[in-house]
Symmetry: D2
Subunit: 149 residues, 4 copies
């Protein structure tokens, strides 16, 4: 219960769903690798693309939206522009108001993730910014897309 | 000669080569469209990806590198995450040390560019940062990839 | 009238108002200088900070907002993290619906701008996205802050 | 020893050293707050600015450089453009090759951090990318600037 969770897997097979992103010239820092902060941009981009394209989530008008409350990442190997990254996403835990994602960022075709991370979303009311339950419609999409309920 | 050049075309057929980029959540500004500065990131990412993948350019070790000396962009329509953008590139003029690119940024499948711009590269010596002639090997790639010489 | 305008000045004295920005590690590209696209982020950040702090503009709720329709930049010298940049802004022309800014980006304390650019805002209705006149209240602020009317 | 460490403090007094960063228009996402990934850019920018300005670290030429191996952040409250953020840094643990930083990101003048995080640097040889001991000269700067040894 209060145990520290095991770290996200570096294995390709651990992730339920993948999206590919072409890197950009400005992603590289002066050491010639992707800047560490940008991995988190892959996290929220992969998660939100799926919410919008698969769940029907509309960040502009839905009454409830997802806020990021906690993230973390371990960096195992470098990735560099002009490579393409494959971002694998799984849902480790679906709570009443929260979804805890695990994410692996892979160089195209690589077997082991270059970086692995966690990303926790909480659904909040857009106006009050207080947590609200994830609606049944979204839960059905979590089941369908990520296999969690 | 000293005439102001005609603006880059919004037509798909005007561009010699295309690369697609998946947008990222943080690309959108608070009006819900891609931030204007990011279009320039598509410019240099498309140009540099081709230099590296097609010309064999190595930004880390080549003795001469390309510096950006002038850019510009006209914004015709909005593009938004989670869309995919298609970035068309042509070379409008190849000088002794410089390459003047024209670029169209299209929403996936759109007939007219959402934004059109210019991007001027000058080849410089990595140490002195002074202009040097574009080598014959690169000129051959400009001919092959972009049809200019 | 239809003449090409003279380029923005590199002189410090040419700009009406300055804001300083601390650079960030990820601003540098792998050549160790600020990425070209980021200069445009200084442009809209300096302009919008003044609109919000001095004009009382609220991008979240005002019925009319400013859209960027055209930008351009010439790069004269490199700037690098961890430097501080001073962004000078003047208004070159105030139209019925548009404001044409000129901008100089200076390394801290430098006499000549490292980059100079143009940035054109058009006021549009938030819903229709069609141009609307800049209201008198904003025009008074343009007069007070930038000395144009 | 193998206990999970207590989370970084939200108190202003917990941090040894502060740097201020002006936010940028494109930092805000479409919910009108700073994008979560950007907080990590404040982390590495504050840490690296101090390494360069206070330690004499030269990321372009030093034989050993710092790589980011692990980061994490908890988000407690929103921060928005055009605000200024104050980034507090302390060193929680200085190992043989690693420095574990804790960081608080504060809205200007706020008593409690809007976000708190961890940031772990490992010193590596630039060529082999293998860990090497942090040199005595840097350890003296860690003592002087952050009060750790």
């Amino acid at each position: 219960m209060s145990e520290r969770p095991s770290p996200p897997s570096r294995e390709r097979s651990a992730y339920a769903r993948y999206l590919s992103f072409r890197t950009r010239w400005m992603d590289n820092d002066q050491f010639g690798h992707l800047n560490n902060a940008l991995y988190y941009s892959f996290f929220d981009s992969a998660v939100n693309t799926t919410l919008i394209d698969e769940f029907g989530f509309d960040p502009n008008s839905d009454a409830s939206v997802y806020y990021v409350v906690e993230t973390g990442c371990s960096f195992h190997a470098g990735v560099a522009f002009p490579g393409i990254v494959e971002v694998g996403v799984r849902v480790a835990r679906l709570g009443s108001s929260s979804a805890s994602y695990e994410i692996g960022v892979f160089s195209q075709g690589a077997e082991l993730a270059a970086a692995t991370g966690r990303f926790v979303h909480v659904m909040v009311d857009r106006e009050t910014e207080r947590p609200v339950p994830i609606p049944g419609e979204h839960r059905a999409h979590f089941e369908r897309v990520y296999g969690v309920s």
